[in-house]
């Protein structure tokens, strides 16, 4: 321990006033010259053997007062010699390393003034780095009064809750707040945390200095978009140490600026993601699953847990078009406290089925983002089915059967794919133009031609036979007629008529492939048909009957030569016209 004796200049004054006077000393001592930042150094300024006026407080030169001043005075009487001393003790510290000079302190003793020497304190870097950078930075500005804004996270997802704490650190005995500017928030959804009435200050040691700490405000901040979001500094105005007579010294302090690095939710958002980030549970309750048509169904969808509940939108219900639904009522039981927003948000739907039937709303799904697991999680309800019974008729507004409603077109979609047999066929192959087609088209006509040829050949052969016969018929007729001609020449009447009749009958039989016995009036009419309107047949029959008559009766209608010519003409006529 060092002692520095302070030489004094007014000792002669004291010596004059009192014979018994002891030596008067006024000195400042420190317990050590070198400290680490945050460590205390004890400064003692003592005045001995004098009843001086008030000693001045030295200039601290950048050091901070942790405690003090504490005053002590002592009297002692040794061998009748009285000695007394007055001392003031401070505990000082430094928040920063460096060299600090404690200025001189002066005291008025008698008619003179005494002064202590300045003391230099070396401060090395302290071991305590526990306080965060915000506090250190703010403390640097003014170690006696500062405020900070601290965020619970420096990096957050969009929608994740971050808690901002606004803290005031002060070392003055009394402070009187005047006005303040709260930071402007942009890009955040802010929710005030209810601090309650027990907002009592605590004490905290920062870099060795003891502070009264008051949490001014807490906010739950929910970033709304990604990027670097800033919480602008807040400004506070205080009056320091207001007394009864003085209004105090005005001090204006400004906090640090906090930055939050907001990152987008990773991956593709599920379709049923409604912006919830946190930890959630889903509870779906249906008032009465069995109702009658036109009666209301209560459907409540309740999300509970710790999340940005106030930012959750109403889930979309996939309602059948026969349901009327009203906008959901939102019941919030949300508390905002120091650890964020928690509680429950309930969406109450009132559904009114208009027609009876079984309705299946499917499973309700809801996705939220879990920032601790860095993943989306899906909540599923039990399948929602409603059995809507036929309503009472008098309950409806209309009487006499159900009301007709138009079939509404609710959406458009393409027609569904064809299933089953798709009538597949190899690509680019067609029957048309293929060898099979050409063959199929060529073969039937060829067959026809072949058949025609065959027919011709057969007909030719057949035609030969008939032609022979016909020629034969001619020949026979000529022969018969020749016999008749011979009889005509020889003027044999009976022979002529006999030969003529036979020639006519024979020709006809041969011509139409008949037996001679079959030649009669009806067959002649049939075969000769309407040749010349039946006159040929008549003439033929007349010729035959004339010949038969002339054979047995001695009378002749015409000259024999004429009859002969007639017969020859009719045969040649038939030959000419019936060539079949």
């Amino acid at each position: 321990m060092f002692k520095r004796t302070i030489p004094f200049f007014a000792s002669w004054v004291l010596a004059c006033t009192s014979a018994l006077a002891q030596q008067i000393t006024f000195q400042a001592t420190v317990d050590r010259n070198e400290i680490a930042a945050g460590e205390p150094v004890k400064l003692t300024i003592s005045l001995e053997n004098a009843s001086g006026g008030s000693m001045t407080t030295p200039d601290w030169g950048g050091l901070a007062v942790m405690q003090g001043p504490m005053e002590s005075s002592s009297f002692s009487s040794i061998n009748g010699r009285m000695s007394r001393s007055v001392s003031r003790i401070w505990y000082l510290t430094a928040t920063q390393p460096g060299s600090f000079v404690i200025g001189p302190s002066t005291v008025r003793v008698g008619g003179g003034t005494m002064q202590t020497d300045p003391i230099t304190i070396k401060v090395t870097k302290g071991a305590s780095g526990s306080e965060n950078a915000d506090v250190n930075g703010a403390q640097k500005k003014d170690p006696n009064l500062f405020c900070t804004i601290s965020l619970s996270k420096s990096k957050a997802y969009v929608g994740e809750q971050v808690i901002a704490t606004y803290t005031l650190y002060y070392r003055y005995n009394s402070l009187q707040p005047q006005n303040y500017d709260l930071p402007k928030l942009s890009g955040f959804w802010a929710e005030e945390v209810d601090m309650g009435s027990h907002n009592t200050g605590t004490t905290q040691t920062v870099n060795g200095l003891r502070y009264n700490v008051a949490v001014l405000k807490k906010q739950v901040l929910i970033p709304l978009h990604s990027g670097k979001l800033r919480v602008e500094p807040m400004t506070l105005n205080y009056l320091v140490n207001p007394g009864f007579f003085s209004s105090g010294t005005p001090v204006r302090i400004q906090s640090n600026t906090s930055e939050l690095n907001v990152i987008d939710l990773p991956g593709a958002k599920p379709a049923d993601f409604m912006g919830a980030v946190g930890d959630l549970r889903l509870e779906v309750t249906v008032g009465t699953p069995q109702v009658k048509a036109n009666e209301a169904i209560d459907l409540s969808i309740r999300f509970s847990g710790r999340a940005n509940l106030k930012l959750i939108d109403a889930p979309k219900l996939n309602l059948p078009p026969d349901f009327d639904a009203y906008d959901p009522k939102i019941n919030d039981k949300i508390t905002v406290n120091g650890s964020g927003m928690s509680g429950s948000r309930e969406f109450q739907y009132l559904l009114i089925p208009r027609h009876p039937g079984k309705y299946d709303l499917g499973t309700l799904t809801f996705s939220y983002f879990d920032p601790t697991g860095n993943s989306y999680k899906q909540l599923r309800s039990a399948p929602l089915t409603f059995d809507v019974q036929t309503g009472t008729e008098n309950g409806g507004a209309t009487a006499g059967g159900p009301t007709k409603t138009d079939v509404q077109r609710l959406g458009t979609d393409i027609r569904y794919i064809r299933t089953g047999d798709l009538h597949l066929r190899p690509k680019g192959k067609h029957l048309m133009g293929s060898w099979a087609y050409i063959l199929g088209m060529a073969v039937p006509p060829l067959l026809f031609l072949f058949s025609l040829l065959l027919h011709r050949r057969r007909k030719q052969r057949l035609g030969d036979l008939q032609g022979q016969r016909r020629r034969g018929a001619d020949k026979v007729a000529k022969k018969r007629l020749a016999a008749a001609a011979a009889a005509l020449e020889s003027n044999d009447r009976n022979a002529f008529h006999d030969a003529l009749g036979k020639a006519l009958e024979g020709y006809f039989a041969d011509k139409f492939n008949l037996g001679v016995a079959e030649v009669n009036e009806s067959t002649i009419r049939e075969k000769l048909g309407d040749l010349d309107g039946g006159r040929t047949a008549d003439a033929y029959i007349a010729l035959i009957s004339d010949a038969q008559m002339a054979r047995f009766a001695p009378m002749e209608n015409k000259p024999r030569r004429q009859t002969y010519d007639q017969a020859a003409a009719i045969i040649s006529h038939i030959e000419h016209h019936l060539r079949t």
Partner: protein, 250 residues
């Protein structure tokens, strides 16, 4: 002998095996489509389409493209399906719906359809229908003619001759229809624009004068081709050049 038998066996069994595996592919595609996995369904249909085709298959592929949100491909496949099965109302309905998403309002290329009766007359999905009918008519004609030559009775002869004459006319008509149908099915004279936005240039070179701009899904007629450039023609009669890759032939 054995060496000759093996390829023969293969030739008989191969189409059968192909048939069954194709069926399995189609069933899987149907299942995938009904589950909403349109991409998988499309891949399966596409693998079937490498060797086989039909209006239904192309229609289903068009549906897959439509569900995947690719309008030009959906239109392309519906057009192809409609060519194989003219007059099918489901194809026409889906095609109309996809066409409503096309940006360009265009005069439709003049088509040869004469309404639904003509479409029906063309034989629906069966390309070979008229070819088969012409074969039948030809056979009937020959049979009637052959019978006519051999029948003796006059009335029967006249009747058969009439039948043969009618059959001859039908043969010619149906053969013409079949020929027209094949021509139509093999027709590759129109295309669909695949690029989202396409500049139609005045010359077949980059940097040619920009005549007008078309968008994906628009149907254009194809004219001559020169290297990597294709001359196209619009319904309005306007003509210009585009890169070959920007259009796909129907």
């Amino acid at each position: 002998m054995k060496g000759l038998l093996a390829p023969l066996c293969l030739a008989v069994t191969l189409p059968l095996a192909a048939q069954s595996s194709t069926d399995a592919l189609l069933r899987r595609a149907e299942a995938a489509y009904s589950k909403g996995d349109h991409k998988e369904a499309l891949a399966l249909y596409d693998s079937v389409n490498t060797h086989f085709t039909s209006a239904s298959l192309l229609f289903n592929m068009g549906n897959c493209w439509s569900k995947l949100g690719d309008v030009p491909h959906a239109i392309l496949y519906y057009e192809r399906a409609l060519r194989l099965g003219p007059g099918a109302d489901d194809i026409q309905a889906n095609l109309d719906q996809e066409r409503s998403k096309v940006v360009d309002r265009m005069n439709e290329l003049p088509s040869l359809t004469l309404g639904s009766l003509w479409d029906k007359l063309q034989g629906g999905t069966d390309v070979d229908q008229w070819a088969r009918r012409s074969l039948w008519a030809c056979a009937i004609m020959a049979a009637a003619a052959i019978a006519g030559t051999w029948v003796r009775k006059r009335l029967a002869k006249r009747l058969l001759t009439a039948v043969a004459a009618i059959a001859l006319v039908s043969t010619v008509c149906s053969a013409l229809l079949a020929f027209y149908r094949v021509q139509q099915v093999e027709d590759r004279s129109s295309a669909i624009i695949m690029s989202p936005t396409l500049d139609i240039l005045g010359e077949p070179r980059p940097g040619g004068t920009r005549l007008f701009v078309l968008h994906q899904g628009t149907k254009v007629g194809l004219m001559q081709r020169q290297g990597d450039w294709q001359e196209i023609r619009l319904g309005s009669g306007a003509v210009g050049w585009v890169p070959v890759g920007s259009v796909e032939v129907i």
